[in-house]
Symmetry: C2
Subunit: 165 residues, 2 copies
DNA sequence: GGAATATAGTTTCAATTGTAACCATTGGTT
DNA sequence: AACCAATGGTTACAATTGAAACTATATTCC
């Protein structure tokens, strides 16, 4: 009797159970990359805009006169990425920068007229891409997606936080 | 009468309607980055493994004796990324490489015993991270997520295809 | 008032990644 | 057989990104 029926150390043979194309983090990554490439290509082609630059413009359109760190908070970018994006936008005169009178380290950023003009053209394009992506889902599934993303983001943040204690 | 009721060119004033933190591509990107950082940090810390290397190992564990291009197809990586990942895995002797007799360009890749040993430890860890992430969702929501990701991925691919006609 | 400490933002340098060019080999065509 | 296009894979170079160091200003606290 070579195969005892009760539990002994019959370890599974080096481990299926993990199939990459069923693995959620992998699928998220591939989906995000695909979507980003499509959209980034369009921004770049049409407006010479990188994704970081687009993000900065999007928050400044809605919240003028933020400082760079405030932009960083609202875009989930680190301050170096924000600094570089802003540098590019300043070069192209799409953003105006002043400095706070009371605290001369703080910058005060807003879209220039040219920046506004660009933004009014990029934003609808962005929304069209989003709509096209979501058109694969029913309205009800779209609401569900929204909810799931919120929950997953919360959970991911908590996993991150528990890591770097 | 300054505001005619019928349609004239009353364009919306430079465009809210887009709020970055409600924009699905942005949210996908932030979620993916957060998840990837948590997991990549663990792989690196515990096994000195990059995400591309982990992906290559995952497919070789399941499908031994693939060539590099076949690995690339199954990991959604381009062939340069695969080449580099394999180079690293060869250096650490976690992967063995032979060459096809009939076609001497084709490599034949498989995990070494050491590679298998690493894999049997990484895979459960990966699954634990996935489970922890998904634990924020009910089982029913988990199934829904699976379905939504599949649909969205299909749609994203079709958007990509229609771009580079 | 003057150290020490913290914050805003930029610069620098190294590591990662993407694109294109590049061998080597194979398959097809004449 | 000799050429030419296609394929597998690597190399080289440029662009992007990340981490740490740095400058300048502001704040704290003795």
């Amino acid at each position: 009797m070579t195969g005892p029926k009760e539990k002994v150390a019959d370890l599974p043979p080096a481990g299926p159970a993990l199939q990459l194309d069923r693995f959620i983090p992998y699928r998220l990554s591939v989906l995000t990359n695909t979507v980003s490439m499509v959209i980034a290509g369009a921004y770049e082609r049409e407006f010479g805009l990188s994704i970081p630059q687009w993000r900065v413009m999007a928050v400044l359109a809605r919240y003028p006169d933020l400082s760079a760190v405030e932009v960083a908070e609202r875009t989930a970018m680190d301050k170096v990425a924000v600094s570089r994006a802003i540098q590019g936008l300043l070069d192209e005169k799409r953003v105006l920068r002043a400095f706070d009178k009371g605290d001369r380290r703080r910058s005060i950023l807003r879209l220039s007229a040219a920046g506004q003009a660009v933004y009014t053209r990029v934003a609808p394009m962005a929304l069209r891409y989003e709509a096209e992506l979501l058109s694969a889902l029913s309205p009800s599934d779209q609401r569900t997606l929204d909810r799931l993303l919120t929950r997953l983001m919360e959970q991911a943040k908590s996993m991150q936080a528990s890591r770097d204690v």
